[in-house]
């Protein structure tokens, strides 16, 4: 066991650092520490620009194989990249859905044509992706999706509704789970379609969250179209592909998320020092607990990242979502308790919230989206611990 990095890896670190120092400034200065979950809708245009700058310098998709435009870096280098990106205050990666979800899915399941068409603009930061999985009646029960696609000539024609789609307004493409066999049930008869967003058959309606912001949207498909070749992994084979997408996430990118958490924690520590609650023994305990918890998220991630490529992620892999969402939820409460009465006062009317207030409110969705805590616990019990379904 070794938590330090080799000389070569440290050289890579310097390279990353130099790029960020040279580029994350000027017009991009204001992006520092912005974006990411809860703040995903902030500075989107500028972050798209930033994504292109990254792409031109070859810093998008660095973990992808070289043949697909990546750098093929090791997991350790990914860790280093994330550490440095965060240390520099790099903004929430606008292209992360393409880079971490769609890209790996195409690399694994896509046709040569699909790879050729779709991977390069992800690497360059030219095209953004969003995810079309959840529906109003298919949340925890994802297999209940009702959005339908039928082949009309050379095109899939899509009818239905997706929900909780983030960055839908800015995305060029969406990967959409559709029922392509009208007589099918549950996870059979579903296809994984790639659908262009800029077309008349698609309407995007923002969902106002309790923060007053609209990070998520509903996406209505009313005769939306995509070419018949834009199906990944075969017609009616989409469930397998969708589940595969989830498995590609090894967690290097969670280090970026942890960095956001660390920034938030530092804000709270500063606030506590300033308002004197850093002397309150209860608050001290809870701040220490939050600090320990964040360390644990990091070491959990490092353990997962140290698993050999292709090997089972093990029990520790299964707890990741539950662990970070609970951490963030508890942290949000702590942040408000540190602020005390001031926690209820917004920065400005009508509802201009500071970052801690946003984190507090937004963290309540952390335990819900991408598999509620309850679903996560089912999955842990059934898959990691082998407990029976019924």
């Amino acid at each position: 066991m070794d938590l330090s990095f080799s000389k070569e890896e440290e050289a890579f670190r310097r390279e990353v650092r130099a790029f960020l120092e040279d580029n994350l400034k000027g017009d991009f200065e204001k992006l520092k520490g912005r974006g990411g979950p809860g703040d995903e809708h902030s500075f989107v245009e500028e972050r798209i620009e930033w994504g292109k700058v990254m792409g031109r310098a070859g810093w998008n998709c660095i973990g992808w194989p070289k043949e697909h435009g990546g750098r093929g870096v090791s997991l350790n280098e990914e860790v280093i990249f994330n550490e440095e990106y965060v240390r520099a205050g790099g903004p929430g990666r606008i292209g992360h859905i393409g880079e971490t979800l769609l890209g790996p899915t195409l690399i694994h399941f896509g046709t040569e044509e699909q790879k050729k068409r779709f991977l390069p603009p992800i690497v360059s930061g030219e095209e953004l992706w969003c995810q079309g999985y959840s529906e109003p009646n298919a949340g925890s029960d994802l297999a209940n999706i009702q959005t339908k696609a039928r082949l009309v000539g050379d095109e899939w024609v899509i009818e239905g509704q997706k929900i909780w789609t983030s960055l839908a307004h800015w995305s060029d493409w969406c990967f959409v789970l559709c029922r392509t066999d009208p007589d099918s049930e549950r996870h059979r008869g579903i296809s994984y379609l790639l659908v262009p967003m800029d077309q008349p058959g698609i309407e995007i309606v923002p969902i106002e969250q309790m923060t007053g912001d609209s990070e998520f949207a509903e996406v209505f498909f009313d005769g939306a179209k995509t070419h018949k070749d834009n199906v990944v992994g075969g017609v009616n084979e989409g469930w397998k592909v969708a589940m595969g997408t989830l498995a590609f996430e090894r967690g290097a990118s969670t280090l970026g998320q942890q960095a956001q958490f660390e920034r938030e924690l530092n804000l709270v520590i500063s606030a506590a020092k300033e308002n004197g609650r850093a002397r309150d023994p209860q608050i001290r305990q809870r701040l220490a607990d939050a600090y320990i918890g964040l360390r644990i998220l990091r070491y959990n991630a490092l353990r997962i990242l140290s698993v050999q490529e292709g090997a089972d992620l093990g029990r520790e892999g299964s707890i990741s979502k539950l662990a970070w969402s609970n951490w963030h939820r508890d942290f949000g409460k702590l942040a408000m308790d540190v602020l005390g009465l001031e926690a209820n006062i917004a920065e400005g009317a009508p509802y201009e919230l500071n970052l801690l207030q946003k984190a507090y409110l937004f963290s309540r969705s952390d335990t819900i989206y991408a598999g509620t805590n309850e679903i996560q616990r089912n999955i842990i019990a059934e898959r990691a611990l082998g407990m029976p379904k019924v």
């Binding site: 209940n144 308002n275 209860q282 006062i345 819900i368």
Partner: protein, 380 residues
């Protein structure tokens, strides 16, 4: 010993629910959001005139009903349930209680009939920008100049502080420290030298304000509780308000439970109502456990308030405020979780309760503050 509401109290509660379910809805809250209107004055007038709730605690000699903190509970519970936004709590639980405990005959005679009729609202300004709840943390001070008192200082997080017709303000004699030298004054809301600023709040169901006193002058007749120990008087007022707030919190918490259960029966996943899953049922059971426990201690605190048992009230008010705060927060949180995705949208109601729960938790003292107070009452 009989620890239930009597029939009149039950009917008061039922009437309050019928009224507030129609008049104090989250739709109205959403609609009012962002406007300059602090609260629905017409609704407040009806509460005073049609329902007489403002008169409830006020003795009959001042045009009131002469009832007690226990009789007030059914209304507070329903106001908690419905997130009532008007200045009822500030006027009755803070203002009226302050005058009842410390007001001079002249003050009561002048002010209470106006309050009972809904013509004037009150509030209490005690918290300050540092946000500490200990009495000895009060920094706002007064100087005695002949027959006048001159007030300086900043009060913050004052409930309905902008709209209140009169503000009862806690200050200390200049140069005093600790719990010595504390005095309360009743100050007209439009007094010269008093600047009032509305604070934008996360919890949009309650108004908070900052009040800046820059040489506000009041006469000797403005002193509340001239013959009393000011710190003790203030604590007594706050303890009654804490007991009352706990009941309001119970109402809010129970509403979260009811909302969660109703949604769990309606929302289907995996072909069955999510309320049939043990994970959801057990959450709901824990919510009920906490709601009913909070209710027991909150009711007991108000029985102590009604029977003027100050020492017991102190302990029970803190117990009730501590427990009810945690219970409300728990229920409001689980309500969001049970609602899933829609639970964190503006469109659905859970977030309003989640925010009011958090704001109420800090109001009049956080649970930690109150547990420490209980520890002292225990002789620790």
């Amino acid at each position: 010993m009989h620890f239930r509401f009597n029939e009149e109290q039950l009917e008061l509660g039922r009437a309050a629910r019928r009224f507030l379910e129609v008049e104090s809805t989250t739709d109205k809250l959403r609609a009012a959001f962002g406007s300059d209107e602090l609260y629905d004055a017409e609704l407040y007038r009806r509460i005073a005139e049609e329902l007489g709730w403002l008169a409830l605690l006020i003795p009959e000699e001042y045009d009131g009903l002469g009832l007690t903190a226990v009789d007030l509970m059914p209304i507070l519970e329903e106001m908690g349930r419905s997130l009532y936004r008007g200045p009822f709590f500030s006027t009755v639980c803070l203002g009226v209680n302050a005058l009842l405990l410390g007001g001079s005959a002249a003050q009561k005679e002048e002010i209470l009939p106006l309050v009972a009729a809904g013509e004037e609202t009150l509030t209490l300004a005690y918290s300050e920008p540092h946000g500490r709840h200990e009495i000895d943390a009060i920094e706002t001070h007064f100087e005695e100049r002949g027959d006048e008192f001159v007030l300086h200082g900043v009060k913050r997080y004052v409930l309905d502080g902008v709209s209140a017709d009169r503000v009862i303000v806690a200050a200390r004699s200049k140069g005093s420290v600790g719990e010595e030298g504390i005095r309360l004054f009743v100050v007209p809301g439009d007094a010269e030298g008093l600047t009032r600023k509305r604070l934008p709040t996360l919890d949009i169901s309650r108004n908070e304000a900052e009040l800046i006193f820059e040489g506000v002058r009041v006469g000797r007749d403005a002193v509340v509780g001239a013959d009393l120990d000011g710190a003790a008087l203030l604590e007594s007022i706050l303890d009654r308000a804490r007991a009352a707030l706990a009941v309001e919190q119970v109402g809010g918490a129970e509403r979260c439970l009811d909302m969660a259960v109703a949604y769990s029966l309606e929302r289907k996943q995996f072909g069955r109502p999510i309320g049939s899953f043990q994970a959801i049922k057990h959450k709901a059971a824990d919510m009920l456990w906490k709601v009913e426990s909070a209710r027991s201690i909150a009711y007991a605190a108000n029985v102590a308030a009604a029977s003027d048992d100050g020492l017991l009230l102190r302990e029970l008010a803190s117990s009730a405020k501590a427990y009810a705060s945690d219970a409300y927060f728990f229920c409001a949180s689980e309500n969001i979780q049970i609602h899933g995705g829609v639970g964190f949208t503006w469109e659905y109601d859970p977030h309003f309760y989640f925010k009011r729960a958090k704001a109420s938790e800090e109001l009049l003292g956080h649970a930690d503050f109150h547990r420490e107070r209980v520890a002292r009452a225990m002789g620790l």
